[in-house]
Point group: C2
Chain length 388, copies 2
């Protein structure tokens, strides 16, 4: 039996960016309170959370204080420190979901790939890199190009360097500047992702999304993905396998490649609500954020059924240098009967920073291609250029 009191359960969240903000938006209807920890005063999640602790993501004393105020800890950034979370959990007895062990595996892309491969999850050929020779060997074995990746700390394509030939290997290794791995370059038809939830004794996966990246940053997600049924089914099978490996409850963003040969292989996993799952707020019966709240609390998971064919598009700051954030012509989105605006409240626009997103629901009988074009034209109608 689940009993809800007032005040309801409180979730402590390490990180208070847009994911924390949308988590707090989803927690409130359920009577669940959110306290975030983030080094930036007035972080995006602050205004809709019960409280913010202003502290670094690895500040053990502050995270201990956070734990003492909440029923369960979670995190919305991979920068959360697994060792600190482990110790805080041991000292305070407050559970942490997903498990810090999962964060440890995911932090290290090489360890992640090894563990998933051992579990039978299809991954691109990869190897550890400690020298230029390792890259050269990979080029020879996998064929050019290969993708050199920082084992830790990369996201949105940061830390990924394509290597076309042995001549580029040394510079690439310098660019990564730390422990590295190399992967066969996947010749993909499309990038897809499965948002999946691991709850208390149950798992649920959302319909597969198709992700369109540019400069390795997500621009749009189209749901359902424009893949055939066999590919969609295979993606869900792989997601099920991934959840078996992952330890601890919560939402996982599972990024996959659909290869030109029709295979599905794993790209990366995020142990948290994922940008490619923002469409669920309007497009699914339960948003990924509400699902994460349910999962970490051990509550029953919600339905992941599609409400509507959906496209989401990111509002990336189209600015040359940091400046106060201002988005002009939002009336273009507000006036659309099938579009929803999400503005994260970040104070500062920086080049290509994720400032918000727009969700576009299917108009009557609209094809996914037409819907995607409409989303793009809405995104281009709003502008980060100087206010007029």
């Amino acid at each position: 039996m689940t009993t809800l009191e007032s005040p309801g359960p409180t979730i402590g969240v390490v990180g208070g960016g847009q994911l924390g903000r949308m988590l707090a938006e989803a927690a409130s209807p359920l009577g669940v309170d959110i306290v975030v920890l983030d080094p930036t005063p007035d972080c995006p999640a602050a205004t809709v959370s019960t409280d913010q602790l202003v502290a670094d993501f690895d500040d053990e004393e502050a995270i201990t204080q956070l734990a003492e105020r909440v029923d369960v800890l979670t995190f919305e950034i991979e920068l959360a420190d697994q060792d600190v979370l482990d110790r805080v959990r041991a000292e305070t007895g407050v559970p942490v979901h997903p498990d810090p062990a999962t964060l440890r595996t995911i932090h290290d892309k090489l360890a992640q790939k090894r563990e998933l491969q051992a579990a039978g999850i299809p991954v691109p050929p990869f190897r550890s890199v400690s020298s230029v020779e390792d890259i050269e060997d990979a080029l020879e074995e996998y064929g050019a190009p290969v993708m050199l990746k920082a084992r830790t700390g990369g996201y949105d394509g940061r830390g990924n360097v394509p290597v076309e030939s042995a001549a580029e290997a040394a510079n690439a290794l310098d660019a990564v500047a730390g422990p590295a791995m190399v992967e066969s370059f996947v010749d993909f038809e499309r990038e897809i992702s499965v948002i999946a939830a691991k709850g208390y004794g149950e798992t649920r996966a959302y319909p597969v999304g198709e992700n369109i990246h540019e400069d390795e940053i997500l621009r749009e997600t189209v749901v359902p993905a424009r893949s055939d049924d066999a590919a969609l089914e295979r993606a869900h099978e792989i997601a099920d396998g991934v959840l078996e490996v992952m330890d601890g409850r919560g939402i996982y963003g599972i990024e996959l490649f659909e290869t030109t040969g029709g295979e599905i292989v794993l790209n990366e996993i995020a142990p948290r609500p994922h940008n490619s799952g923002h469409w669920t707020i309007e497009g699914a019966r339960t948003s990924q954020f509400e699902q994460h709240v349910r999962a970490v609390l051990g509550w029953p998971l919600g339905s992941t059924a599609l409400r509507c064919q959906t496209v989401s598009t990111n509002l990336l700051a189209d600015v040359d240098q940091s400046c106060p954030a201002a988005l002009a012509h939002v009336e273009r989105v507000l006036e659309s009967s099938t579009a929803n605006l999400h503005w994260y409240g970040k104070r500062e626009a920086r080049p290509l920073r994720k400032m918000g997103h727009v969700t576009v629901l299917q108009a009557d009988g609209e094809s996914r291609d037409a819907q995607l074009e409409r989303a793009r034209s809405l995104r281009e109608a709003v502008t980060f250029r100087a206010t007029e």
Copy 2:
């Protein structure tokens, strides 16, 4: 052109109950901040608002402070004081929506009825009451029973006293204990309501809801109402007429009777988001709360299209006396793939207090009758009785 900055616009809300809470939940995705004023520390809206000023609804100094922090003032309770709001607006130059003049009209049920009647809105026969004789005259003219109503301060049926005969008139007048009016009792087929928005140079109305009351407190809303097309159309015509009378932007809850003779007559108006519009959160393209945010800011109004046939049911505290709030068996709602839980976070349960609501979306091909039964059985599955 509408430009959104960070921090975005801030709305000051007099009142921080569940309506304020749901307003804040809806404001956040738009990048809009909410500051509430409410005398109860940790009021329902507090956790999801940027800040709460703890002060009475008519505390002019506090409301002035609130005005100085925000771009526009609104209210989510009719207890807001129209004279105070008028003065604060004049002193600070901060706009108030809806207009305090509207609040003044609506506060006095007699003035409200007179103004609406003058505008051609159909209302039940009514008259002012200053003595027992006035009630006797009404009984004679309209036929028994008649409804004696306090002109000010009543809600959820409080202040309404049915009078069956002249013998009851004196006691009824004592019970109302203040300025009163009397209305012909309307023999209605069903009670319905239109949630309508008055924006900047535009208005929009939601599909008509059917409201089921018990002891004059709303229990369920069924959307669309089970009325015929002519009645639904007439309800919208009346709503349009009401909005013309109302001054200032915002959401209006327009309660109507559908009489046994097939007429539609006005019952009452609430100049704020309304309990019978909670279904819009999941059931409409734009929730009444987001719509109120858009309206008071003068932004384009959102689509009021139905997403799904919807039933909402209130969770009224089923307790004999005040006690800490606890709701058992919420898993019954959480496990349903078509139900959404809303728990307002009120600390104290009091007999019949509105503590939350459940929204039930149509299951495949489900009739409205079956959907209503399902909503009721979910409501009865959760319980305010002692936790087990």
